[in-house]
């Protein structure tokens, strides 16, 4: 066995390992792709506490599913809800009803607050305590006393004669419009009455199994509800619904793009070689590429994102370039007495250069901070390398001289090259150049920019509509915009929350926001608790305070005053966050309290009733406060997308110089001819995007990066075969370009705007490079340094 066959066998054993590993992944059912869209978002590396805060908000929402069942009539709504829930009841292990709070007796969780009621005041009551005189308070107490309906009464009259604690409870109740009603949770919008059905998902929201089980089940329950009450409205929202929609879409795209490009390539090769053998060979290199990418990617990341597979499906188009190039050369070398190993040796420098430039293009994608993108880049680069190695190790063994026959397409292709225009310094060329510059300038001037998070996901409109409706009805706090408050200890955090809330109160008055939720709403800082107790003692409990005056009016004796005073003071002990967190009442705010974190304590102040116009006000409100940070995850992602659009733009530009540097040692003064078609194609692509009204986004720029890798291959192939009478390059480039078009062209059918932009750019760019490349080939004397013999 000689060295070459040994290499082929070594590679065969590597391929066996890949097959074994993939089979293991497949049969062990580990191969469930990830559909979490957040996995595509950048990790907040600079600030772990901020990352933790966001994760806290996300975790609070992720495993939750909320369904509203509404009708104009409450009885109808609750009847439909009964039926809806009955359908789900059989699947308790999947979806668990989460509305015990509707059945919980309020007294249970009021008890804690009653013990600390002295410090629990609304901002309005606190202001009144500072500004109003004794008669004001006595009037309030007497009115409450004599009215049969003294307003809200959380206990005996003498425990809260001035209604301060009742006010506080009422204000807390207004933090949500949801109310218990007949054992259900209820919310109404004046037109319809809705039963609120909260569920907890028992399987991870991003597991395929959960999605495949939950979505049909909800539909079944929806249909059952419609059947019994035809006018019922069912609104559902939950992370799992988005994940399921994204997953189904990605699956469809993987199969369409993968199968479509595969089929296209088979047809192409058949037309070119009129033989099955090349098809099998190309499939072999692509197959090993895909297996290798999957296997190594899994070892590196321990998971595969669905979008990686979508993107990776387009790999099929790229990975066959090397095989095609080899086969085309084999075909044309059949006139010469070269054996396949000698041929490979001759092709190796060009093949290697082509691989390196393409892989570099992919790896530039890995420079972005988006983990999903990084995975896609690594997956693609690995696929290229494995396909390339398969060509290098196996093809010379498998394809001997004379194996291939040329078909009519190859001959037609050769004929077409001779008629293809070539670049020459003449007057008409100046006109073409001038026209091109005018076209480019005009196109570029029309090019806007767009850096929107929605590029990454495009959920069905119905889901978005239901989500918006549900958030509006429930007046739910914004999950991606909030204030992060930090301090050395919990007391400092609470004090800082209180300072922030003073800035937010005017925004509520001006209806810029609906309200806020914060730990300090429930547990004031100790400083505030002390101040409020002092205020109450001074206004009510002094010898000539309002309580004594009230006693005189209702004929109560000193003993009554003493006893009442004692009971009040007993309710003035300190309330700490931990006391509150232990009770079931804290459940709705628990996710806001991050507690001990790196370097201190932290909490979240969440906001209700936001819209895009409120964001600048909020950002300003948080400014200049110690330890308070405004977090706008949506805005942040958009700004990251924008930043990386610019950053990658520069990377693309610099890469041209880098690639030129790599090409120069081999092609010297002709190196620019390798690069120019791609550069011009990129300029033309951007101009066309501008003309067609597209807005420039990160993913266009990333595609230009990849186009550089692919396009330079074509330039290299042509520069290796500069003669107009030598159709090898033209044939290889034609086949490569067509298959790239098939794969990336199909990617432009993707419903994910980012992938679509990527596909479209590749589509236009590849066509342009394909048609431009022969114009730049130069067939006078050989201008590059001959590779090693």
């Amino acid at each position: 066995m000689n060295r070459r066959t040994l290499l082929a066998w070594l590679w065969a054993s590597v391929v066996c390992l890949l097959i074994a590993h993939s089979a293991f992944l497949w049969f062990d059912e580990r191969l469930t792709p990830d559909s979490d869209i957040l996995a595509l978002l950048p990790v907040e590396e600079r600030d772990p506490v901020l990352q933790q805060a966001f994760a806290h908000m996300v975790d609070a929402a992720q495993q939750r599913l909320i369904v509203l069942v509404g009708a104009e009539d409450w009885d109808q709504a609750s009847r439909a809800a009964d039926i809806y829930r009955a359908v789900l009841a059989a699947h308790n292990s999947l979806l668990q009803p989460d509305d015990q709070i509707a059945k919980q007796a309020p007294q249970d969780w009021l008890a804690l607050f009653r013990q600390h009621r002295l410090a629990l005041l609304t901002p309005g009551a606190e202001a009144a305590l500072r500004s109003q005189a004794k008669p004001y308070w006595i009037d309030i107490a007497l009115a409450k006393l004599y009215s049969p309906f003294g307003g809200i009464k959380p206990g005996a009259w003498q425990d809260d004669p001035f209604g301060l604690f009742a006010d506080w409870i009422q204000t807390r109740a207004r933090e949500t419009p949801v109310r218990p009603r007949d054992g259900w949770l209820f919310v109404g919008d004046g037109r319809r009455q809705y039963v609120v059905l909260p569920f907890k998902l028992r399987l991870p929201a991003f597991s395929m199994a959960a999605q495949e089980a939950v979505v049909p089940l909800l539909e079944q329950a929806r249909q059952a509800a419609y059947k019994s009450v035809p006018q019922v409205e069912v609104v559902a929202a939950g992370v799992i619904l988005y994940a399921a929609a994204a997953g189904a879409q990605a699956k469809w795209e993987v199969s369409t793009i993968g199968f479509g490009s595969l089929l296209g390539i088979v047809v192409l090769i058949w037309l070119t070689f009129h033989s099955f053998k090349p098809i099998v060979l190309i499939m072999l290199s692509v197959g090993v590429g895909c297996l290798g990418a999957l296997s190594v990617c899994w070892l590196l990341f321990e998971r595969i994102h669905l979008l990686t597979l979508v993107f990776g499906a387009s790999l099929i188009g790229g990975a066959q370039d090397y095989g095609t190039y080899f086969l085309c050369n084999r075909l044309s070398a059949d006139g010469q007495s070269l054996d396949s190993w000698q041929l490979l040796r001759r092709l190796l420098p060009a093949l290697l250069l082509a691989l390196v430039t393409t892989v570099l293009g992919y790896l530039a994608l890995a420079l972005t901070p988006f983990p999903g993108l990084r995975q896609m880049a690594v997956f693609s680069a690995l696929g290229m390398i494995f396909a390339w190695l398969t060509v290098a190790f196996w093809f010379p063994e498998l394809v001997r001289a004379g194996t291939l026959k040329s078909a009519r397409l190859a001959q037609w292709c050769a004929a077409s090259l001779e008629r293809w225009p070539s670049l020459r310094l003449q007057r008409s060329m100046w006109w073409v150049a001038a026209l091109f510059v005018a076209f480019a300038v005009f196109g570029w001037s029309r090019l806007g920019v767009r850096d929107d998070i929605r590029l990454l996901q495009n959920p069905p409109k119905r889901l978005i509509d239901e989500q918006i409706k549900l958030s509006r009805l429930l007046d739910a706090p914004a999950p991606a915009q909030f204030f992060l408050v930090r301090g050395a200890n919990s007391e400092t955090v609470l004090q800082r929350e209180e300072a922030l809330k003073q800035r937010l109160d005017p925004l509520i008055e001006k209806q810029i926001i609906g309200g806020y939720q914060a730990m300090s709403n429930w547990v004031p800082s100790l400083r505030t608790q002390v101040a409020r107790r002092a205020l109450i003692e001074q206004t009510f409990l002094n010898e000539d305070g309002a309580l004594a005056a009230l006693a005189a009016r209702i004929g109560a004796d000193d003993q009554w005053v003493m006893a009442t005073r004692e009971r009040w003071l007993a309710a003035g002990s300190e309330l700490a966050p931990d006391d509150f967190l232990k009770t079931s009442a804290s459940e709705p705010v628990r996710h806001l309290w991050l507690g001990p974190v790196d370097g201190g304590y932290a909490s979240i102040v969440s906001l209700r009733g936001l819209d895009s116009t409120s964001l600048p006000f909020l950002q300003r409100a948080g400014g200049g406060l110690d330890g308070v940070q405004w977090v706008d995850k949506v805005g942040e992602i958009s700004s990251v997308l924008g930043r990386y659009r610019k950053y990658m733009g520069w990377v693309v530009l610099l890469s041209y110089f880098g690639v030129y540097g790599m090409l120069y040692p081999r092609y010297r003064s002709a190196a620019w001819r390798v690069l120019a078609p791609t550069a011009l194609a990129s300029v033309a692509t951007l101009a066309l995007l501008g003309l067609s009204g597209q807005s420039l986004q990160l993913f266009h720029v990333l595609a230009l990066m990849l186009l550089l890798g692919v396009g330079v291959d074509y330039g290299i192939f042509f520069q290796e075969h500069p003669s107009r009478r030598d159709p090898v390059a033209w044939l290889a480039v034609g086949l490569s370009a067509l298959s790239t078009l098939l794969s990336f062209g199909l990617l432009s059918l993707s419903k994910t705007p980012a992938l679509q932009a990527f596909g479209l750019t590749m589509l236009i760019g590849t066509v342009a490079v394909w048609f431009l490349a022969p114009c730049f080939s130069h067939d006078q004397e050989q201008r590059f340094v001959q590779g090693p013999p």
Binding site: Q107, A143, P180, W560, E587, V589
Partner: protein
């Protein structure tokens, strides 16, 4: 459920101001006028106070519309309960307004109060266990809320009367006791005064 919070406990506790049983029999004894107005005298005995606190005023119950409760002595104070809202006026000022669209307990409170003043025991039976006696033209009942949380918040309610409800006694869990006596009952179109009609 994080975003959702159940908070109408205090409203629920208001609803629990009254009660009565032996419903069917009593139901036949009661007159059910479209409009019913009269005078009330309320006496509240608070724990730790020797003297009860007295107040009086006028009330109106209008079928299909709601209840108007006007305290005249010692402080003017009006309460209007309709199907869709509760409004409390302290003097001329609106001291409290609760909307049934947001607070479903408003409807419950209103139906209970209406039923109490009209003696509609069938309605009350939905929420209360009713226990009592009815003889000749007199009846008396005690009401206890079926929901334990509610029972704890309201305590018990005793009602007695004949053709109309005459007395209501509310005994709260805290030990406070409120007695309301109705008198000078008028029915029909002329029962409501002009300013009362204006408030509706």
């Amino acid at each position: 459920m994080k975003q959702l919070r159940a908070c109408s406990f205090m409203l629920a506790s208001l609803a629990l101001l009254g009660a009565a049983p032996v419903a069917k029999k009593i139901q036949t004894m009661l007159a059910k006028p479209k409009v019913l107005c009269g005078r009330f005298d309320q006496s509240k005995q608070l724990v730790g106070l020797k003297k009860p606190l007295s107040s009086n005023g006028r009330f109106c119950v209008v079928a299909d519309k709601g209840v108007l409760w006007r305290t005249l002595q010692p402080f003017p104070n009006s309460l209007k309960l309709t199907r869709d809202e509760i409004i409390q006026l302290r003097g001329e000022q609106v001291a409290l307004r609760l909307d049934a669209k947001q607070e479903p307990t408003v409807r419950m409170i209103n139906s209970v109060l209406f039923a109490l003043l009209a003696g509609d025991l069938e309605q009350l039976e939905k929420l209360f266990d009713i226990d009592g006696t009815a003889q000749d033209n007199d009846w008396s009942v005690t009401l206890k809320a079926r929901d334990p949380g509610l029972a704890k918040a309201i305590g018990s309610i005793a009602l007695d009367g004949g053709v109309y409800v005459k007395n209501i006694v509310i005994s709260e869990a805290s030990g406070d006791r409120t007695q309301i006596v109705f008198s000078v009952i008028q029915t029909g179109d002329g029962a409501m005064t002009a300013d009362e009609a204006a408030l509706f």
